[in-house]
């Protein structure tokens, strides 16, 4: 695992940058009631996240994503290993003053209005009253809740609660934003808005670390991703290198007679239209040539690249550490 990380650090870390988050040998075991039985939360986790990147933490349910986030925030104490956070540790309030955090499925004080809630968190950062007022308004506007200052949180939908939670995480202009399933409960428009906010945070030089089950969102915005499985780091690397450059197969859609040699490659036929799957890019010129010979009309040629979902499924199927991370 160390070798993988060293390789990753050499190939994907921004030159000269120092990690904003650094996890070294992080382990956490949850003991059962009266010490009977135990469950591994995370096991020997090594991970570095650098300034200005959007980092996605992926893994199936129970992989240890939320445990990792809690260890990073000091909500859990590690059994072994250490967490470096913005030059300090999670126990250090001056490090926590520079982060923003949104938990999974957040539930906030339902007796407060959105404005009172954000004002409370502004107080915790020592903001003066007039600054709090300004920030509350501007942050609510930023998360698409302008004019909803007086809405009681108990009357907020799940999506609205998620937005208020995000507002809480970013209103003090943190350097590092940690989000646990930030797209959860949002409709497509809400998801796009949150994605845009995350991208704008990166543009402003902030670092965003988030876990998500919604792989499309991760694929759209993450610079690097890490896969966790049963508490262990499975692989980590630059998303662009991991998925975009690999053409898995090519689909050729044609109208007209299908050459005999391509019968086995036909995956779908509808009237005079056929869909041919070409598994190797090297075979594509020959396929196109034989189609031209038979006089078939080529309607489209579509390269099918890996999606994050393909990569996710494949990574979860192979043993950890069996493959280089940056292909």
């Amino acid at each position: 695992m160390v070798t993988m990380l060293e390789m990753e650090a050499k190939t994907s870390a921004p030159a000269g940058s120092t990690p904003v988050i650094e996890l070294r040998g992080l382990s956490k075991v949850f003991r059962g009631h009266l010490g009977i039985g135990s469950t591994t939360g995370v096991d020997g986790l090594d991970l570095s996240v650098y300034r200005g990147e959007i980092f996605g933490l992926l893994g199936p349910n129970g992989a240890g994503k939320t445990t990792t986030l809690k260890l990073m925030l000091g909500l859990l104490r590690p059994d072994r290993g250490e967490v470096g956070l913005l030059g300090g540790t999670p126990r250090d309030p001056s490090a926590r003053a520079r982060i923003g955090y949104l938990p999974e499925n957040p539930y906030f004080y339902d007796y407060l209005t959105a404005e009172e809630f954000l004002d409370f968190y502004g107080r915790l950062h020592g903001m003066p009253a007039d600054e709090r007022r300004k920030r509350v308004r501007s942050t609510l506007k930023r998360v698409g809740l302008a004019g909803r200052e007086d809405t009681p949180l108990r009357k907020c939908s799940k999506g609205m609660t998620q937005r208020v939670g995000l507002a809480q995480a970013i209103q003090h202009d943190p350097e590092l934003v940690i989000l646990d399933e930030p797209m959860s409960g949002l409709d497509p428009i809400g998801r796009r808005e949150i994605r845009n906010i995350i991208l704008s945070l990166r543009e402003a030089g902030k670092t965003v670390f988030f876990s998500s089950h919604i792989l499309q969102d991760v694929e759209m915005i993450c610079d690097r991703v890490a896969f966790l499985e049963r508490g262990r780091l499975h692989s980590v690397g630059q998303l662009s290198k991991m998925i975009s450059e690999t053409v898995r197969w090519v689909e050729v859609s044609i109208r007209g007679a299908l050459p005999e040699a391509l019968m086995d490659s036909c995956v779908n036929q509808d009237d005079d239209k056929s869909l041919i799957r070409v598994d190797r890019m090297d075979d594509l010129p020959d396929v196109l040539a034989s189609l031209q010979e038979t006089g078939a009309e080529i309607l489209s040629v579509w390269t099918r690249r890996d999606t994050l979902e393909d990569l996710f499924v494949r990574e979860m199927d192979r043993p950890a550490g069996s493959e280089e991370v940056n292909r």
Partner: protein, 269 residues
């Protein structure tokens, strides 16, 4: 381990954080219907003392004060136990404490903020309930001001009960925490019986020092109960009230320290 160079970010002073959490706790409590139910119940009890005095022969004045102070004390303790236990438990159960502690909030500041906020709520409750009792006593043409030392001592007692509620709710579920807090209140009022037990223990054994030790450990809430003295007009030594107040607040501070230590080591699974 080297992470990104630390930028100097001013961490807000403890006072600011504690006041913010206390204010939020106060808001939560005063927007909770349970509090108002308890207050209405207290007012009914205080009002009932007036009714009882009307159908009682003799000592009407004592009955009003006795029942009134008892109602204030009981409702105050119930509020401290149930609101105190639920406030911390709700923060943990609903995971609001996660976002709170991800901010520049030290864990002890959270516990102290909750304690201060709850004491303000209890103080306001006492003020309202006492005002009701004082109004009744004034209505009867009597002087109510000697009730105030008893109300002050009830407040000191409530500070101890609140500290226990915070300690136990940091340790266990709300049901057990409420039972343990209430048990601390009851044993605190019966701690004098340990001295009686000690006298019955054989000399030279472990029993006597053990009884004495437990007596010192348990809160001496009986010392803070001067309702009977106030109602009967019994004179107390001049330094009794200041010393009792000092003892009570010191005891609450020690329990609060313990609660902070427990909370400091807590894992939020």
């Amino acid at each position: 381990m080297t992470t990104h160079a630390a930028t100097v970010v001013a961490v807000p002073p403890s006072r600011t954080v504690i006041v913010a959490i206390a204010l939020n706790t106060f808001r939560e409590a005063i927007r909770d219907r349970v509090l108002y139910l308890l207050l209405v119940f207290a007012m009914l009890l205080i009002g009932a003392s007036r009714m009882m005095s009307m159908i009682t022969v003799g000592n009407e004045e004592k009955l009003v004060k006795d029942m009134g102070l008892a109602a204030i004390s009981v409702i105050g303790v119930l509020t401290a136990v149930f609101v105190g236990v639920s406030l911390v438990f709700k923060e943990i159960e609903r995971r609001t404490v996660y976002t709170l502690l991800a901010n520049p909030v030290r864990r002890w500041q959270f516990v102290v903020g909750k304690f201060v906020g709850l004491l303000v709520v209890l103080g306001m409750n006492l003020l309202l309930m006492s005002s009701g009792l004082i109004a009744i006593v004034l209505f009867r043409g009597e002087s109510p001001w000697m009730l105030l030392p008893a109300v002050l001592m009830i407040f000191v007692e409530l500070s101890i009960v609140t500290a226990f509620a915070l300690l136990f709710s940091s340790l266990t579920n709300p049901m057990l925490a409420a039972v343990w807090t209430f048990a601390s209140y009851v044993t605190g009022h019966l701690s004098w019986s340990l001295l009686l037990l000690k006298e019955r223990m054989p000399e030279g054994g472990l029993g006597r020092p053990l009884c004495q030790f437990i007596y010192w450990i348990l809160p001496n809430l009986d010392r803070l109960d001067i309702k009977a003295e106030v109602v009967n007009g019994t004179a107390l030594p001049v330094d009794f009230i200041p010393l009792s107040v000092l003892y009570g607040f010191s005891y609450a501070a020690v329990i609060l320290l313990l609660a902070c230590a427990v909370f400091e080591r807590k894992d939020f699974n």
